[in-house]
Symmetry: C2
Subunit: 311 residues, 2 copies
């Protein structure tokens, strides 16, 4: 198994859009810098939470160009390479490697349903072969609620075996702890990096051999989640985990991406941040008010989090 | 409602790949010409059956360039504009209109699940607005088994009302006759063109006010399906329908796209035609033999079909 560029708390960064619906590179760069300043260990830009699949490949690549040009270290970046074609996935990965990104997050092809493990294996293998770079560190992205196409336990093992220096980790957004646990039991021992896709499973994951988490709510709660990561072997760990679980469950009672954007808009005093790209829709005014009231009720404040991070 | 450029038997054309996995423009052009010679009323290139979603937008556009350059009439073409981003969908549509294509087939965005009708409406509206052409004739593509995101009966009505000269028809690949029937009852009367996504529903669809079908098995059975279309008001209609339904059901007992490609490879004496792009996989040798035996048993021959078409 190759060296591991990532561990800890990674954030699938929200993508801001202008009022005209275009990706907003300026706000994006500033927000990425804010997340790193807060203590994020890495930025999984262009993931599901990023609405990456509502952007053309060219739009994602232009944002990455801007991010790297602005001085965000490529060693902290794990761009998503989600695409339904081998051609586009390979193009996105080559572009990321050209910038020196430390890894990429790899969705399975997600249009055709009912595809076999053999077919998904062939897809990933063809992408790796087409990229043809020893520098590639690929993290598989298992998110069946969106893709309907899984990276099964068996398929993951086949890919690790065939590409031990390339297929080095996985983000598990199945929401199924038993799946994460089975992956850890099967592959963590050999150095394969397993990240639950929600901080709800961060502590359990670390105890089972996982290495952190890649989580949407990192966009608004890096400091809280980092505390669990830093203190997971202490007697305080379960209490800290309960705190971040409560924040997460409060947010995910609403449509996740619009809710996170609404929270950022509120705490960063920047209403334009609430914009989403279709097919997503913004929270209604009533939902927004209820969400912010729910967060106030549990004492959550992004402002406080920022102050803590600066201490 | 605007004039209707399409009716009858449309084929979502299979896309041939070279042994190296690249789209094979030469074979593609030849095959499109063959289908038109057989009597196809239109070619819905870059649909689900075309493995379009396993090709980058640039690959699809390059194939369309070759097709039009070869003399295939753009008036017969309804390219698919399947994409998850407004940006890419609009780009594909502008390219098709630039070639004078008579219409486009429009998938909903298909990565994010559980999106609302409002969100899908916003997506389609944004694409139409971005394209900004009075020449656009858009056919909605309802295929929930793949997209999981439907064009609901209500949403279709909203889009027709907002864009009566643009949203002029729909392909229903739900496989649910009750849905096709409801669409016909609600919208066929005003001139909205409804195509079932399988010839199994061709006769029922015509009787309910539909205008033809857009069907995968058209790749291997245009003459048979055309007979139903030409004779649907005659006493022979039900017998002819039963014949094509039998062919369809025989083929779809196997994975559809690999099976169709295997049939083309066999009857066109061109083994390379059997190649698919991952995540699809070819039929095994045993499946291939069984499929061809099943077709022989019911007396199906693409060779005969070609001779009939030439009579």
């Amino acid at each position: 198994m190759a060296s591991q560029p990532f561990a800890g708390v990674l954030v699938p960064v929200l993508t801001p859009f202008t009022p005209a619906g275009e990706p907003d590179a300026g706000r994006f760069v500033a927000f990425c810098r804010f997340l790193l300043d807060q203590g994020a260990d890495g930025l999984a830009v262009f993931g599901t939470t990023s609405e990456a699949n509502s952007m053309a490949g060219a739009e994602r690549m232009a944002l990455l160009d801007r991010l790297v040009a602005s001085g965000i270290p490529a060693a902290k970046l794990m761009p998503g390479a989600g695409a339904c074609s081998i051609t586009e996935a390979a193009q996105l990965i080559r572009h990321a490697l050209g910038h020196g990104c430390a890894g990429v997050l790899m969705l399975p092809p997600f249009y055709y349903k009912g595809m076999s493990d053999d077919g998904v294996y062939d897809f990933v293998a063809a992408v790796i072969d087409r990229v043809g770079s020893a520098a590639l560190r690929m993290y598989l992205y298992h998110i069946p609620p969106q893709t309907q196409i899984p990276f099964t336990l068996d398929l993951v093992g086949r890919l690790i075996k065939a590409y031990p220096n390339t297929v080095v980790g996985l983000k598990d957004s199945s929401g199924d702890w038993n799946n994460t646990k089975a992956l850890c039991e099967a592959y963590a021992g050999s150095g394969f990096a397993i990240f639950p896709g929600s901080e709800v499973f961060l502590l359990d994951g670390l105890r089972a051999g996982g290495v952190g988490c890649i989580t949407a709510s990192g966009n608004v709660n890096v400091p809280g989640i980092r505390k669990v990561y830093e203190n997971w072997k202490t007697p305080d760990a379960d209490r800290l985990q309960a705190e971040i679980t409560l924040v997460r469950k409060t947010i995910q009672a609403y449509p996740m991406v619009p809710a996170l954007k609404r929270i950022v808009a509120h705490f960063h005093h920047d209403p334009d941040w609430a914009a989403v790209r279709p097919p997503m829709t913004r929270l209604s005014d009533a939902q927004s008010a209820a969400l912010l009231a729910d967060l106030a009720k549990i004492g959550f404040s992004l402002g406080e989090a920022r102050r803590e991070a600066a201490e």
